[in-house]
């Protein structure tokens, strides 16, 4: 019991998220165990998470610097559209495309994301545009370019090898419908986990991580301490751009098509996840573990609600908003205990 209490106190915010998550799982277990805890449900959830999970990671690092990145969706869509067009130009007369082009395309996508993010970072650090405006502007610009390129409709008929590779599920043990075999671990999830580990490592184990938190705490002091603040910001926004671009590539695989307005709800959703995960909107505070928990909590909420046929999926947005506000209110009372007034 004491050990539990100690664990709770070590990071109350994260502990509360864990409790909410556990509570929700128990609720789902009581109400519709069979449908929710099915071996097919989780791989499905896990293949959607990386779309906005990756963007949230980018939003997180930017918010830790005290800024914000609203350009994730724009970067994701423009990248996936250009990559989709690129892949469509690949097949020869026989229609064959080598599977080796998939890692190459992913690499190019990451490069696109890095470039777009670096532009964000440059606008913010060198031209001193407030992050919210700079990234919003870039988002509009990129979305606009994407619309001009596609004229609106989705880019379809990309080589099937791309989707089948990224949208694959490994560990094929589960018998699927009509005798096909489906797997447990989606490839998207592997990509996501790899990026999570990389960012965790950067933040917790390297000097880059320390500097990131310092800049978020007080940019002026960081400058006086000889940190190269401008370069740090450019790097960080570039990293965020790369995350968003990868997120776009996963959307491309999940939908087998790319469009200028896919996932437009993700922009704000990512910010909500990051704040829900305990990152301070003024910068300098927040952990990747909290953000991961927030991502899992929200996606399980969504997946759970979808199991109730009588509740329309329109309620999901409402419930998310309520959860976010609930956590913020809980935080407020945890940090400012109600004192007896004399």
């Amino acid at each position: 019991m004491n050990a539990l209490l100690k664990f709770y106190r070590r990071d109350r915010h994260i502990s509360r998220l864990v409790i909410m998550l556990a509570g929700w799982l128990i609720f789902m277990a009581i109400t519709c165990f069979d449908k929710f805890f099915s071996i097919r449900n989780f791989p499905t959830i896990a293949s959607v998470i990386p779309e906005y999970g990756l963007m949230s990671l980018g939003a997180m690092v930017c918010m830790i610097t005290g800024g914000i990145d609203l350009s994730g969706v724009g970067i994701a869509n423009l990248t996936s559209i250009t990559m989709a067009l690129f892949m469509k130009s690949l097949p020869d007369e026989t229609g064959y495309v080598t599977p080796w082009m998939v890692p190459l395309v992913l690499l190019m996508a990451i490069l696109c994301g890095l470039c777009a993010g670096a532009v964000n970072g440059t606008l913010i650090s060198k031209v001193k545009i407030p992050p919210i405006l700079a990234t919003l502007g870039i988002n509009q610009l990129l979305t606009g370019i994407a619309m001009v390129i596609t004229n609106g409709p989705a880019v379809q008929n990309i080589p099937p090898v791309y989707s089948s590779m990224i949208n694959n599920k490994l560990l094929k043990v589960v018998p699927g419908k009509r005798g096909t075999v489906s797997g447990l671990i989606p490839v998207q999830l592997l990509i996501f986990v790899a990026v999570v580990l990389l960012i965790w490592f950067l933040m917790a184990r390297t000097s880059y991580g320390k500097k990131l938190y310092m800049i978020g705490t007080n940019e002026n002091v960081a400058r006086y301490s000889g940190l190269k603040v401008d370069r740090m910001l450019i790097k960080t926004y570039a990293m965020s751009g790369a995350c968003a671009a990868l997120g776009g590539m996963i959307m491309l695989a999940n939908y087998s098509s790319a469009r200028a307005d896919y996932g437009s709800q993700y922009t704000l959703q990512c910010i909500l996840i990051v704040v829900l995960g305990g990152v301070s909107p003024t910068g300098g505070r927040g952990k990747i573990s909290g953000v991961m928990l927030a991502i899992v909590l929200l996606s399980l909420l969504e997946a759970g609600i979808n199991r109730f046929p009588q509740i329309s999926s329109y309620y999901i947005t409402m419930i998310w908003g309520a959860v976010l506000l609930l956590v913020m209110v809980l935080n407020y009372f945890a940090e400012n205990p109600i004192r007896k007034r004399r």
Binding site: T206, S207, M214, V221, R223, Y224, S225, G226, L227, G284
Partner: protein, 494 residues
């Protein structure tokens, strides 16, 4: 009418676990200038907040004008004529002088519509009370600190004040401005207003006050007439320790020249500044706030780009584009304002100490070597005797003196050849000030070149081997600190 305007008797106040005030008493006569002195954290501010009704005491009572109170609300305090001028003045920077002055009366009268003409009359009247001359339409945010303070004083006077409490009013003022402030205080005294002047600066206590009260760690130590107080007694009452100020005697021999500054200039700030600095020397640079001394410091550290002249470190010209360039050339800079320039307050003491040299504590792929990191932190906490149970605690848990040691540690960890300190002991208690001076002298004697930029004349005279006096952006004198006195230096500065 009783003898005393205000009597605070046996006031105690505890915050979670900390006894901030322990049965302290304070009495002020009508029309007197009373100085309340004590180190940071001695409970001065807590008492002010009790008198003005912001906090409530746990025990004791307050008598004002013969009326006894066990608790005062902020509104009662204002109604009785108690006005506090806090360090930040509590004025609205985005409004004009006129709006700031007239705001309260407009609100108090319950007016919902703005009448510029009426506001102007009210504001003019307020300014005329201390003959303060300023344009009413200027934005308060664009005023100097001294002007803001005057606006705050004028506003305080509008409420028919009987007692004005000034919380460390001289912190950010230049000497000239302090002069002007003191004149105003004397004028207020003539009008029968009592002043409670909170300060920890010895010379001010002597200069302005008639009676004084000194607190130490929440306890009342002594009250009396200022005429019976002297330097030694003052430091003793404040700290409970006796100090022997030791003048700096350079002991490091054969110091090579590490820093040469030739005709350095920043347009509009200073020009034609040249000096040489060798290992083992402490160079003092003094001057009024607008003399260009701070800009010079920023230029030496790459925070402002110079528009002319050269900076040479160990004979090599350095292009100072950023603080990183300065650090790599071997220059460290302890900034003027600890809170907004020196420290990451919410972050740990450990992080604050190592942040500037953090790239030296990494292995391949800039992975932090946590063993070396902890060792480094431990070494510096010990070397500068930073008083903390755990370096993982936030910097904000430290006192001003210890915070300043953390800033020092940060720079010493970078192993600089030249250490520039801008106001090294501003807002630091006497005990820590003494320790910091000793540390600087020791560093110089171990071969570091030190620059102290300060307008604390005893500080520069006592600790420096050379002295530059700046005025209006130029060096006007280079007296020998050993054979100069404060008045000579002052006459060059003004």
């Amino acid at each position: 009418m009783s003898e005393y305007l205000l009597k605070a008797v046996d006031i105690s106040k505890a915050f979670v676990g900390v006894q901030a005030l322990d049965a302290v008493s304070l009495d002020i006569r009508p029309g007197e200038i009373h100085c309340l002195a004590g180190e940071n954290g001695c409970g001065k501010s807590t008492l002010i907040k009790i008198i003005s009704g912001v906090y409530q005491q746990d025990a004791g009572y307050i008598e004002f004008n013969g009326k006894r109170f066990t608790r005062i609300t902020p509104l009662e305090a204002i109604a009785m004529g108690i006005q506090v001028i806090y360090q930040d003045f509590s004025i609205f920077p985005n409004l004009t002088v006129m709006e700031n002055l007239a705001f309260n009366t407009e609100l108090a009268a319950g007016r919902r519509l703005v009448n510029k003409r009426r506001m102007r009359t009210v504001a003019e009247e307020a300014l005329s009370k201390i003959n303060f001359d300023i344009e009413l339409d200027r934005l308060v945010g664009s005023l100097s600190v001294a002007e803001k303070q005057m606006v705050a004083i004028c506003r305080a006077l509008m409420f028919d004040a009987k007692l004005i409490i000034m919380d460390e009013p001289t912190t950010a003022l230049t000497r000239k401005e302090v002069r002007a402030l003191f004149e105003i205080i004397l004028k207020l005294k003539e009008q029968g207003i009592a002043i409670l002047f909170v300060s920890h600066k010895l010379n001010e206590v002597f200069e302005i006050s008639e009676r004084f009260t000194i607190f130490r760690s929440g306890k009342h130590i002594v009250s009396g007439n200022t005429s019976e107080l002297d330097d030694r007694k003052f430091s003793y009452y404040m700290t409970g320790r006796e100090f022997d100020a030791e003048p700096f005697r350079p002991r490091y021999e054969g110091g090579e020249c590490v820093l040469e500054v030739e005709n350095l200039a920043i347009e509009g700030a200073f020009e034609d500044v040249s000096f040489r600095l060798c290992r083992g020397e402490i160079l003092g640079i003094t001057g009024l706030l607008d003399s260009g001394r701070s800009e010079l410091a920023l230029a030496l550290f790459g925070l402002r780009r110079s528009t002319g002249g050269r900076i040479l470190v160990k004979g090599k010209e350095i292009a100072m584009g950023s603080p990183r360039d300065a650090i790599e050339a071997g220059i460290g800079y302890v900034p003027e304002d600890r809170l907004s320039e020196g420290l990451f307050l919410p972050r740990s003491i450990a992080d604050n100490i190592v942040i500037s040299e953090i790239d030296r504590l990494t292995g391949a792929l800039s992975v932090l070597d946590f063993r070396r990191y902890r060792q480094e932190v431990e070494d510096w906490v010990r070397a500068l005797s930073i008083a903390t149970p755990d370096p993982e605690n936030a910097c904000s848990t430290l006192s001003g003196g210890n915070q300043q040691r953390v800033v020092l540690a940060k720079w010493l960890a970078c192993k600089p050849d030249v250490l520039v300190l801008n106001g090294p002991t501003v807002g630091v208690d006497i005990g820590s000030k003494h320790d910091i001076h000793r540390i600087l002298q020791r560093l110089a004697n171990e071969g570091m070149a030190v620059i102290i930029i300060s307008d604390d004349l005893p500080e520069v005279l006592q600790n420096c081997s050379h002295l530059l006096i700046m005025k209006d952006g130029r060096i006007v004198a280079r007296p020998d600190p050993g054979s100069t006195d404060e008045n000579t230096v002052l006459s060059h500065m003004l």
